[in-house]
Symmetry: C2
Subunit: 411 residues, 2 copies
């Protein structure tokens, strides 16, 4: 079965908006064992939209559209789709009543143009919208296309998601393939190419699974998909010793979840001192619900004065050792650990550009972890622009801490 998404709206073609609806839809489809075969974004242009609908109907069995269901002149998804299929739009009285009720509840009078939204292609089914005024459409076996299904959703993510759950899911369950299971392994501290080589043999041994490697600036994800959960378990059992301490976690989490989970499991706590990452490390940790169970806080010591004022570093020694230095990163980790009474103190210093800072070229990073058994540190040179270097440095810091906690050797 071929499935495609069409996202409609001129803003999706500009520099400022990405179509995230289709990503969410792909995730939901994947839970049903269904795959997206392509996706398209088109502007509010009737001619192009008509062409895209015609092409989609020639190649796909299930067409999912988002956007263009609203009340304004540039909303015409239903009209164009109905035109392509040679069918008129007819008003759905229940949808009209829903729109009226939506405005009544807000003690406002609906502009007459708003009722345009109640018009549905003849022969299609209206999908009521409990959180907005634009109903969706479910169209099974449209004229000339037996077996085809077209689903139209509003472009507002909140409305689309709600209508997916309420209306699309029950109707799509019958299409679902055998459920596909996923094994996800998050690897940190190893470049993608090195990892790829290292796992090649074992991956080929599990070649009946569908493998993907996805590298980002902070971690590498190794994904296997298959219909047999036992086969995934066997793969996991073979990969776990192969990846060793490079395996940060399996399941849905990321590197920062792995670190927080480790700390929580051990009843330990963390404080951070950030110079060049300027709060990003703390922000990545506190983005996770429940972070407060292990993360106490930290100091964003972006200036020399802040290193002195917040963490009590000695200004003279700081001037001698330099703000971007391994020695300073160690002092910061130890100081923030002591100051906040945390089990672990984690520090990042470095230079993320734009220019060189002192003697340190762009990309120079020093990381340090202070723990119950001592302090370890590490110097790195990270590639990329400012944002890349900052993000990579947070990943390096989290990974150094993760390995430190796991080893629990000299710390």
């Amino acid at each position: 079965m071929r499935i495609e998404c069409i996202a409609i709206g001129t803003e999706l073609l500009t520099t400022r908006r990405l179509d995230t609806n289709s990503v969410w839809i792909a995730e939901r489809l994947s839970e049903l064992g269904l795959d997206l075969s392509m996706k398209t974004a088109v502007g509010d242009d009737r001619e192009i939209l008509a062409r895209v609908f015609r092409e989609a109907m020639g190649r796909s069995d299930l067409i999912l559209t988002t956007g263009g269901l609203g009340p304004t002149f540039d909303d015409f998804t239903k009209e164009v789709c109905a035109e392509v299929l040679g069918v008129p739009l007819v008003e759905d009285p229940r949808c009209r009543a829903d729109i009226q009720a939506f405005y009544d509840a807000r003690k406002r009078v609906p502009p007459p143009a708003n009722f345009k939204q109640a018009a549905i292609p003849e022969g299609a089914e209206a999908l009521r919208n409990p959180v907005g005024t634009a109903p969706g459409v479910y169209w099974q076996n449209p004229p000339g296309h037996p077996g085809m299904r077209i689903l139209m959703f509003p472009g507002v993510p909140r409305e689309m998601k709600r209508m997916w759950t309420d209306h699309a899911l029950p109707r799509l369950r019958t299409l679902a393939g055998r459920p596909v299971h996923t094994l996800r392994m998050v690897v940190a501290g190893v470049p993608e190419s090195t990892l790829d080589q290292r796992i090649q043999e074992v991956r080929e041994r599990h070649g009946h699974l569908d493998w993907t490697i996805l590298a980002s600036l902070t971690q590498v994800e190794l994904l296997a998909r298959g219909e047999d959960p036992a086969a995934l378990e066997r793969a996991c059992a073979d990969f776990t010793p192969l990846l060793g301490e490079d395996l940060a976690c399996t399941g849905t989490g990321n590197l920062e979840d792995a670190v927080l989970d480790l700390l929580k499991a051990r009843g330990e706590s963390l404080a951070v001192a950030e110079s060049m990452t300027g709060g990003l490390l703390a922000a990545r940790l506190t983005a996770i619900p429940g972070a407060s169970q292990a993360f106490l806080g930290g100091a964003t010591v972006y200036s020399m004065g802040a290193k002195v004022a917040l963490l009590g570093l000695d200004p003279e020694r700081l001037a001698v050792e330099g703000t971007v230095s391994e020695a300073t990163s160690r002092r910061l980790a130890e100081a923030v650990r002591a100051k906040l009474g945390a089990t672990w103190g984690l520090a990042v210093t470095g230079n993320a550009g734009p220019g060189a800072e002192g003697d340190a070229p762009l990309g120079t990073v020093f990381l340090a972890v202070a723990g119950p058994k001592g302090t370890v540190s590490r110097g790195l040179t990270l590639p990329g622009d400012r944002a890349d270097v900052q993000l990579r440095a947070t990943a390096g810091a989290l990974d150094l801490l993760r390995r430190g906690i796991n080893l629990d050797r000299k710390y």
Copy 2:
């Protein structure tokens, strides 16, 4: 002229990758006065890709592809495109030499499969890749399509961008329309719908310009595009008094740039104390190059202990007043200002979920700005999930500070 992008790669159809290349390309096209009319993402599937190429050649004058130029079995963009046009691939000796040189420089032997990348459709021009091994393709007037241009880029953003600048830009300049100019106004602290109403009349008076409003969680952007710079200047002159102090900045910056620019212009400095935003406010500021000229640092006081240890708050008073309270936000702003000797101290407390914190329901936020003339604070209830509330709170804080600096009244 119709222009479209085709992004090729199965990962673009999964939940884990968004095609950001096309967003960057749209931005570059827009600088040339050119618009994208649609974009497509397809997996590594020869049949679908061939179909998409055929459709694209039937509707567009300029086709830009990203991805599928690499050495592996699932890279076949050039092959499929050449097949659709009935043309063989031929090896480009210069590209072969480039690949060899790339490996030589790294003291490695290229795997034989790697030279597959040197094969280019007959009649097309190879675009050399100075930062990787996959050359691109520029194909003007392919067989049966006079006037058409096809450009193929690698999917790796760094390589694509470099090749755009080196190779695509000089070749596309001749297609450029009259350059389109943009007026961009960033508005903070006003909901999109309120703003829309307020500007309607003035916008209609400048109706010959192409207007867009784009709202995000942190700001609203008002964009006007037109060919006549004088018309944009007149619009700017009419909007500036209308927007008043809600106008954060014009040009390419965002709210955080506006705040840093204000501080730098006045030779003033900033320190932050973050509870519920957990470093995100500092991270947004330090993402900007040159932030250190005004931003000194801050305290991520994610636990009660951190509020006491880093900023010297009185634990007993904190227990009475509560960590999520207006009083505590004021004390935090004043403490961080004093501790770091900053002109301004900015603090955020609140509850971003998942559960209620003490008596404070999810979305409760207190912001405070401490300045040379005193302290102001503000309580808000912000909608959305954890990430939304955290991000909106940083925007609220930055905007409170911005207005405070601008007014310079009672602070």
